[in-house]
């Protein structure tokens, strides 16, 4: 459990778009500025900055260095970068704040998937001996997971379609969503397979977007925000890299991370999951022990917008924003990294 009270007091995100013709830094500049403004602070009050991104997405070596320009890195600032989703950047910023010598930190995540082929890029994160040379892409892996889920009897194709229909319907009220609208489960099931047993709508869209969050400690958080979203627990756990040695119908690292974050199975007003493919919502729901009436992904989740390297931090912002505006009091956000939910992060948030 955290040694000190730390809360989210400001945030901003861009809409998810299929192709944004600005650079990643250009996406970040107004986003970071807006997050700072929403917290009501001056840029120079930030004691630590951490960014999450992946140079493979735009093919720009050291692109993450340029991204830092969005934070305002002159005069020099104290900063760090994670080659991971912005949720892990927030985790590092949260850890840094626990040192107790600074009061405010900035974390951001950004990604433009539009210039590359995700199937080509993400095959490279697999082991270089067995899977990467085969060019196993995320959609094929997700198809294998979906098949395992069907074979285990834990879900049906109708369950997958129900996740999609619900997500797109909920996304209608999210101005940042890329895919939203009313769709009917039977209509979805009548669609052809894309990578059996997955249909095209079981896949997330390809997205460009950026997101930024301001964290503050103790009294500073109370001073800046009338209703801060307090981080009550934050943890991430990792499983074997090779999907073949895991039970992919469940996510033991998610279960463990939730327990270590202090989630006790109590009621949650809102849950945002990085369920990139529709079957993964069923896997994560089981791993977290969430009941059928749980309010999952009211934003529409990754099926409504999937800006890789920002999508996990967006989940945390979606929960935090509902706590800050008073519509929720306790929520859980999930982020993931690696092939087929290899690494999972849980952030438990609460109002005062």
């Amino acid at each position: 459990m955290p040694a000190t009270d730390i809360a989210i007091v400001g945030f901003a995100q861009t809409p998810s778009r299929r192709e944004c013709n600005q650079s990643e830094v250009q996406l970040l500049v107004p986003t970071v500025t807006e997050a700072i403004a929403s917290a009501g602070i001056e840029r120079r009050e930030i004691g630590f900055t951490c960014a999450g991104s992946c140079d493979y997405l735009t093919g720009g070596p050291f692109a993450f260095v340029s991204n830092l320009e969005a934070a305002g890195a002159w005069p020099p600032i104290s900063e760090s970068h994670v080659e991971a989703d912005g949720a892990w950047a927030l985790y590092e910023a949260w850890l840094r704040l626990q040192e107790g010598d600074i009061d405010i930190a900035l974390a951001f995540g950004s990604g433009k998937s539009s210039p590359s082929d995700p199937g080509e890029v993400w095959a490279q994160q697999l082991d270089p001996y067995y899977l990467a040379p085969l060019g196993v892409d995320p959609v094929s892996l997700a198809g294998i997971q979906a098949r395992a889920l069907l074979d285990s009897g834990k879900a049906t194709e109708r369950d997958f379609a129900a996740v999609v229909a619900r997500s797109r319907g909920q996304a209608k009220t999210n101005p940042n969503a890329q895919q939203a609208g009313d769709v009917d489960v039977d209509t979805l099931l009548a669609e052809p397979y894309y990578r059996a047993p997955l249909r095209k709508h079981d896949l997330p869209p390809i997205s460009d977007a950026a997101v930024a969050v301001i964290l503050a400690r103790g009294d500073k958080a109370r001073q800046l925000c009338s209703r801060p979203a307090w981080i009550r627990g934050f943890d991430h756990r990792v499983e074997a890299h090779q999907p073949g040695v895991r039970d992919i119908t469940t996510s033991s690292s998610t279960t463990l991370a939730a327990r270590k974050a202090g989630y006790d199975g109590g009621p949650l007003d809102v849950v945002e999951l990085s369920s990139t493919f529709s079957p993964q919502e069923i896997v994560l729901r089981e791993s977290l022990g969430l009941g059928v009436d749980t309010n999952i992904n009211p934003s529409g989740g990754p099926l409504a917008g999937n800006p890789i390297m920002a999508v996990g931090l967006v989940r945390i912002v979606e929960v935090a924003s509902r706590i800050v505006d008073g519509s929720a009091n306790r929520g859980l956000a999930h982020a993931t990294s690696g092939p087929l939910l290899q690494q999972n992060l849980i952030c438990l948030l609460e109002g005062e």
Partner: protein, 183 residues
């Protein structure tokens, strides 16, 4: 004891060639930079907050952290000052096409606050190169210019428009041009 087979090193090495394809549109600020180059003009953005001129434009000022727009566009001269250089003596390696020593110079154009990097300097013996040397662009003929090499990375690709820089013959610039700049 069973027979042990000697494992050769080449049998332990696996070749794994990776090819990733990227397709992108130039950002609006770089698209405009490229279009103007084809016409023989060099444009950048002037920060509305601090007045610094970025060539090419990044679409924002990294010092003030404000976005810059088309209305902030300014044209700069094709003359400037050599602010730093390296003489590269190529060694043979895969992909190296140069065989003779060549120059990699930074040129601060008149009216700009950021130098163009990786420029060639012609007509000046290498031993006479110096920071402060006044230079002008040697443009390729209009029909031969291409901007394919310009990318959203924000550097490179200029040599298919501007062949090199040559000395103007003016007196050297003073060290004042280095003030407030990092090259």
């Amino acid at each position: 004891m069973s027979d042990t087979t000697e494992v050769k090193k080449e049998n332990m090495v696996m070749e794994h060639l990776v090819s990733l394809t990227y397709r992108e549109r130039l950002t609006p600020n770089l698209n405009r930079f490229a279009d103007c180059l084809l016409d023989g003009n060099i444009v950048g953005h002037k920060c509305p907050s601090c007045g610094r001129v970025y060539v090419p434009s990044k679409g924002y000022c990294p010092l003030c952290v404000v976005a810059t727009e088309e209305r902030d566009e300014v044209e700069v001269a094709d003359t400037g000052t050599l602010t730093g250089f390296t003489i590269v003596t190529p060694v043979a390696y895969y992909g190296q096409e140069e065989t003779e020593a060549f120059v990699y110079a930074s040129v601060l154009l008149d009216g700009a606050d950021t130098p163009l990097g990786g420029m060639d300097i012609v007509g000046v013996p290498h031993e006479q190169l110096r920071a402060g040397l006044r230079v002008r662009a040697v443009w390729k003929p209009k029909g031969e210019r291409t901007v394919q090499g310009i990318s959203n990375r924000g550097w490179g690709g200029l040599d298919s428009v501007i062949e090199a820089f040559e000395a103007t013959g003016e007196p050297d610039a003073t060290e004042d041009i280095f003030k407030e700049h990092t090259f």
